[in-house]
């Protein structure tokens, strides 16, 4: 049994070896090579060319070959069958079938009768030739100044060969063989108008090839039918809107005139308004005072006030204290010395007080602040500075307690400037022997000067 089994095993082994792939025909190498060159052929496949059917087309490279008795057969990489025979149509051999495995290599042999003359290994998925694109259209977009090129391909609905690279070629019809090429993977292309000649006729066409990095590879498809279109005439100068042109020119000139005027009138008119110069307050005051009265001596020179009694004011005391003090300060007959003690020209209207007190309230009441607050009657009086000219006593305005009165105030009963109130202002009883302000009457009011009084008297 062992010997029998061994014998059978050897027989089967030899059978397998013999029925395996041949490749040891060393003697026929040259003949095979010559035959391969003579019967050289090329094939391409088209998948799902007719719904789910694929096609395989082969032709001999030598057009002069006598292919009368020659047949082509494909074996391997087929579904459910081993081999298929080609159908011959004139000089072209083709197969239409669904039985391509699409995996692995097939062998296509040239047969003369039952004898295979030459064979070639081919992979169906590596010799794919796509179908030609179709329905090219070119649409001009006036607003965008470009041309939108669109086309269609049947591979968009296929299962296998879906990814294609498209080659769009266009040229001006007058110029021969000057094709411009654009590669794209989509079915839409935009051509800029500025890259094309104006008012010219153009021809455009498209072809496809399987994407190189895809599983399927192959050759370029046939060109699509050409499409012809004409580029518009660009009237760029003439198409300019005249209204727009007029407006732009007038605007330019207006701006130019404004710039010139600004430069010319800058120093005289514009700059004083934009950046007015601040006047010197002393000079302004002198100007204000100079204008209304030529014979009015106004000066801030301290030497002009040598004949005036000027007393320094120290502080303010409480009311009770000062009320008592005032009672003592204002006896019926004021003395000269007491008057000298009055600093700032404060006097009691009833007599010459020993010590005159000015209350802040009264001071405030009669102060220019009340004038600013709108108390008109209180603002009617204005203090006249010392010295006064004799002429002003007679012909000039009336003076009341050293105050220059407006004409309207002479008929009014003028209250004392500083009646006795709380919050008393103490005076510095210095400079004895110095005359009291002669401009002040027997009342304890104190004269004061305000800029507003000067301004009012204008």
């Amino acid at each position: 049994m062992t010997i029998l089994g061994t014998a059978f095993g050897m027989v089967f082994y030899l059978l397998q070896v013999v029925s395996g792939e041949s490749g040891y025909a060393q003697n026929g190498d040259l003949e095979d090579a010559e035959l391969d060159d003579y019967y050289s052929f090329s094939c391409y496949s088209q998948l799902e060319v007719n719904r789910s059917h694929h096609s395989l087309t082969c032709t001999f490279d030598d057009p002069d070959i006598n292919s009368t008795n020659l047949e082509l057969e494909i074996c391997g990489a087929l579904l459910e069958i081993n081999c298929l025979n080609f159908t011959k149509l004139q000089e072209v051999y083709y197969i239409k079938t669904k039985k391509f495995l699409l995996i692995g290599d097939s062998e296509i042999c040239v047969k003369l009768g039952e004898k295979s003359i030459t064979c070639k290994k081919m992979n169906i998925v590596k010799i794919v030739k796509p179908e030609a694109p179709f329905n090219i259209s070119v649409v001009y977009r006036e607003g965008a100044n470009d041309f939108v090129v669109t086309f269609n391909t049947s591979h968009l609905q296929k299962k296998y060969v879906k990814n294609l690279m498209h080659d769009v070629a266009y040229r001006q019809e007058k110029v021969e063989n000057n094709w411009m090429h654009v590669n794209l993977s989509s079915t839409k292309l935009t051509l800029l108008q500025r890259k094309l000649q104006d008012d010219a006729m153009y021809e455009i066409k498209v072809r496809s090839i399987p994407y190189s990095s895809d599983y399927f590879e192959g050759f370029w498809s046939e060109w699509s039918p050409s499409y012809h279109f004409r580029t518009p005439e660009t009237k760029r100068a003439e198409e300019t809107d005249p209204v727009l042109l007029t407006i732009s020119i007038s605007s330019f000139f207006s701006v130019a005139v404004l710039v010139i005027l600004a430069c010319v009138l800058w120093k005289r008119r514009i700059k004083p308004i934009v950046w007015p110069s601040l006047p010197d307050h002393k000079k302004t005051l002198e100007q204000l005072c100079k204008k209304p009265r030529k014979n009015l001596n106004v000066s801030f020179n301290p030497e002009s006030f040598l004949d005036c009694q000027i007393h320094k004011v120290d502080g303010i005391q409480s009311q009770d204290e000062m009320e008592g003090f005032l009672q003592e300060a204002f006896p019926p007959q004021p003395e000269e010395s007491e008057k000298q003690r009055l600093g700032g020209g404060v006097q009691d209207p009833n007599g010459s007080p020993e010590h005159t007190v000015i209350t802040p309230e009264t001071f405030r009441r009669e102060s220019p602040l009340e004038c600013l607050a709108g108390n008109g009657s209180a603002c009617d009086a204005t203090i006249l500075p010392c010295p006064r000219s004799p002429e002003s006593d007679e012909n000039g305005p009336h003076v009341y307690q050293g105050l220059l009165l407006n004409p309207g105030t002479t008929n009014n009963i003028l209250p004392p400037l500083f009646p006795l109130q709380s919050g008393i202002l103490t005076l510095n009883p210095i400079a004895q022997g110095q005359p009291i302000l002669t401009s002040l009457g027997p009342s304890p009011e104190e004269a004061y000067v305000t800029m507003s009084s000067f301004y009012q008297n204008q």
Binding site: A77, E80, N82, L101, G104
Partner: protein, 158 residues
């Protein structure tokens, strides 16, 4: 004698059993050395379309996924088992286009995968009408789609 005859028969019997066991071990292929990227590419470009066409619009989500795999070689082993097995209620799927392409893919991309299996399945058979696609068959194909998807995802993780 009788004992000699009995001994001869039993030895022959056990020998066949031994040979069958060896054949079983040989037929269980180890997919470790396969070119997984090319297998994945062939699946995406050809086998997937066949599986979807077989499902004929039926959604794979309506079936429960009962089979899974852990790694690339394990997934291929499961795919082979499901593709060429014949569960009860469903005729063998080995004659379908996706099965033939699966076997051809394994033969090309897995060194040592049996070529004889490819030849046998591609041999002309007396075709009988394709059996009506049952729900069992759809379920099995749905499982195959899941396994192939799992296989592709394991390659993304690399």
């Amino acid at each position: 004698t009788f004992s000699d005859v009995l001994l001869f028969v039993l030895s022959d019997f056990f020998r066949k059993i031994f040979i069958l066991q060896l054949a079983g071990l040989v037929l269980t292929y180890n997919f470790t050395d396969c070119d997984f990227e090319k297998i994945k590419q062939k699946y995406q470009k050809t086998i997937y379309n066949d599986l979807k066409e077989y499902m004929n619009g039926a959604k794979s989500t309506q079936f429960n996924s009962t089979v899974s795999c852990n790694n690339k070689s394990d997934c291929l082993a499961e795919i082979e088992r499901l593709t060429f097995s014949a569960p009860r209620g469903c005729a063998p799927l080995a004659r379908e286009a996706f099965a033939l392409r699966t076997r051809a893919t394994f033969a090309l991309q897995c060194p040592g995968y049996s070529r004889t299996q490819t030849n046998n399945t591609q041999a002309a058979k007396k075709t009988k009408e394709r059996e009506i696609t049952t729900k069992k068959c759809l379920e099995q194909v749905s499982q195959l789609l899941g396994l192939w998807g799992r296989f592709c995802r394991t390659l993304w993780k690399r």
